[in-house]
Symmetry: C2
């Protein structure tokens, strides 16, 4: 039974982010996504290390799938300039990998406050500088940079970009069509400004991710729930994102031990059903 | 060695929030706070249930202490109107308890999304309505209502007031001098708008709480650290709050099992030192 008012999104937009089933390797995730009849898969960089990335690109294409986005670039802040350059270099490689996988979107988890530092403003400036440094290569490769604001509980160690408003500010400051935002309901649902900031994201929404916020939350990292199992007004946010002209893939990305231990085909089935019912 | 630029705050402003040592009952906390030479103590309602509140009020006064604030009123949202009224009634009792303890400040943890609901906006309206309902009694008792924005990771189950901006909006909407904000660095440090919103809080800052954000955070509830052990720019925030004319008590409030298991006099000593060094 559909929870929300309005039509369900087209199932053809649903993308299986492979971290929804961490135990599967990428080949297994590709096969399961194909069996489920989906069009899209979301890929993580640490899952493509065991073979040439072009091989995975071909495997995905041969399965009739497209990559909705590559996770993740970013992690720009660091105390030392050399370390910041190493991180920029790694992002340039991530852009190459995205291109080799045939996706036009690299998802950015921008990085936290450098170890031993308390300079949050400085870390945010390092993110802007890092984004600016990779824009030319991204442009030449046809890869878009999607800043994903992360929940404020990750501000210290994962991303100092804690709100969609800040992601929009940063995209403005970098000032390139190559840079936009990726909106994950898990990270932004609580924000009193989220509806206004989705409007402000018009024209630069490069991805949309769904899952749910469980009550109580079992774990800060591994506590995400399947759509409908929590408190997020997912359908409202999805409709607002679509109303800004976004009609691309919608990734389901769930970090949760119980979901990980579920057989992948069963997860696919439940994901498709809750996508229709709750998104 | 002092970390931050600028003078340390007056040690006479330091308040021991009794939840920094949960194993101690209120009498023990009062005695230890007196031994430490402090002027202020922060009290929790569930700690005053075992004796008449007036008795605790006298005990605190006899120890030469004052109560910086009573935690906590709030928890307004509920699906049923009768349940919401019960919560308002409980807040009226909390106001009486604050007055009996001799404090002019009741700290509000405003409540989460009602069980089974996804209506975040509705829950926020219930908070505004609840605050409005208790203002007359608060005024007649000389007790101020301090809305404490809570970290967004508590939005679902503890407080839908996730930013200082929203707390300021709500105070504006209630429109009474009796209603202001309580700022805890743990809840607001990550917010790109916090510095601007502290300015906007001028004249209605009813409390200021300190502790630190540890990396990694060991637990969503019990993961707070002693000042200086984490990433928060505490001194900067304290100076900004003071610059808005706040010169009241500064509560140290730490939920952390390791701190709880430390002998209370040792915690007092460390708290005083880190207050001078880091606040």
């Amino acid at each position: 039974m559909r929870q929300a008012s309005g039509a369900a999104p087209d199932l053809g937009r649903l993308s299986f982010n492979q971290m929804t089933c961490d135990p599967a390797n990428l080949s297994e995730a590709i096969a399961a996504t194909g069996r489920a009849g989906l069009n899209w898969i979301g890929v993580w960089r640490h899952k493509i290390k065991d073979a040439p990335v072009e091989q995975y690109g071909k495997q995905i294409k041969d399965a009739g799938l497209r990559v909705s986005g590559l996770c993740r670039g970013g992690m720009f802040p660091a105390a030392a300039a050399e370390e910041r350059q190493r991180k920029i270099d790694d992002n340039l490689r991530a852009i190459d990998e995205a291109a080799a996988l045939g996706t036009d979107t690299l998802v950015m988890v921008c990085g936290g406050v450098p170890e031993g530092s308390r300079d949050l403003d400085g870390a945010r400036q390092m993110v802007i500088d890092g984004l600016g440094a990779i824009v030319p290569h991204a442009k030449s490769c046809g890869v878009r940079i999607g800043i994903e604001p992360l929940h404020p509980m990750y501000a210290a160690d994962r991303s100092v970009v804690s709100t969609l408003g800040l992601a929009n500010d940063m995209a403005d400051q970098v000032g390139s069509d190559q840079v936009g935002v990726v909106i994950d309901v898990y990270h932004v649902w609580w924000d009193p400004d989220v509806h206004r900031e989705i409007e402000r994201s018009r024209g630069r929404i490069f991805g949309f991710h769904v899952c749910d916020w469980l009550v109580p939350t079992p774990h800060m990292l591994m506590g995400r729930g399947m759509m409908g199992d929590g408190v997020i007004e997912i359908a409202r946010l999805r409709q607002e994102v679509d109303a800004q002209g976004y009609n691309g893939p919608i990734e389901c990305e769930i970090f949760n031990q119980a979901v990980w231990e579920t057989p992948i085909d069963k997860t696919m089935k439940r994901m498709k059903q809750t996508f229709v019912d709750c998104c």
